[in-house]
């Protein structure tokens, strides 16, 4: 088996980025276990989708770019996709949790869409 050899500086940078990203992922998952209420817990995995994912993505891009002697940007696709979709999922989960909390009568902020009356005189509400 022929072992591909990476320059030592690239090995150091890739190893540091990967270990740091994995450590941040552990931190985010630990917050999921340790925080008390759901509305605190929903913040904690976001760091996995941003900092941890981007660190490991940069490590992958650097590793394959140096190894294959060309620009290998395919891992960027994953990081951009996760960055776009993670807020959507979080917002949906937040709204679902608020909806369920309201139905069980917990003390959470009321729904904005049903509280604000539509003003017929406002130019945005003409139709």
């Amino acid at each position: 088996m022929t072992e591909a050899v990476l320059p030592i500086w690239a090995q150091v940078v890739v190893a540091l980025l990967v270990v740091f990203g994995a450590f941040i992922a552990l931190l985010g998952a630990l917050g999921l276990v340790r925080l008390k209420s759901y509305f605190e817990r929903v913040h904690s995995p976001s760091i996995i989708a941003t900092l941890a994912c981007w660190c490991i993505m940069y490590a992958t891009v650097l590793f394959f770019s140096v190894l294959e002697q060309r620009l290998a940007l395919h891992a960027l696709l994953i990081a951009v996709f996760v960055s776009v979709t993670a807020p959507i999922t979080t917002i949906f989960l937040m709204r679902a949790a608020l909806f369920r909390a309201r139905r069980t009568g917990q003390n959470v902020p009321a729904s904005v869409s049903s509280v604000v009356p539509s003003d017929p005189a406002h130019p945005d509400n003409r139709y």
């Binding site: 050899v5 994995a22 985010g28 999921l32 759901y38 817990r41 995995p45 994953i78 679902a96 369920r100």
Partner: protein, 92 residues
């Protein structure tokens, strides 16, 4: 590769597996359904990162497709489950 490089990748994989175990704890004992969906969301993101680290470890780009598919279907699944919790049905 130097042995320290492989050691660092093994350490990163170990940390990611511990993170998945933490998410699994929340998935099992989560008091509400939204906690379980959030834990599953966290678990698939961590599993996707583990796939990328495996790709670096074995110097193979084959793991990239698996990671991309996990990211795609995990997002769709989490959004569908959140929609189900919100409305009581996934597709209206």
């Amino acid at each position: 590769m130097s042995p320290y490089f492989n050691w660092a990748l093994s350490l990163a994989l170990f940390l990611l597996v511990v993170a998945m175990a933490c998410a699994l704890i929340r998935l099992i004992k989560g008091p509400a359904a939204q906690d379980r969906v959030l834990a599953l969301d966290c678990m698939y993101t961590t599993g996707m990162l583990a796939m990328l680290v495996l790709g670096i470890m074995y110097s193979s780009t084959d793991y990239f497709e698996a990671a991309l598919l996990i990211a795609l279907f995990g997002c769709v699944g989490s959004t569908a489950m959140a929609k189900f919790l919100l409305r009581g049905e996934a597709i209206e």
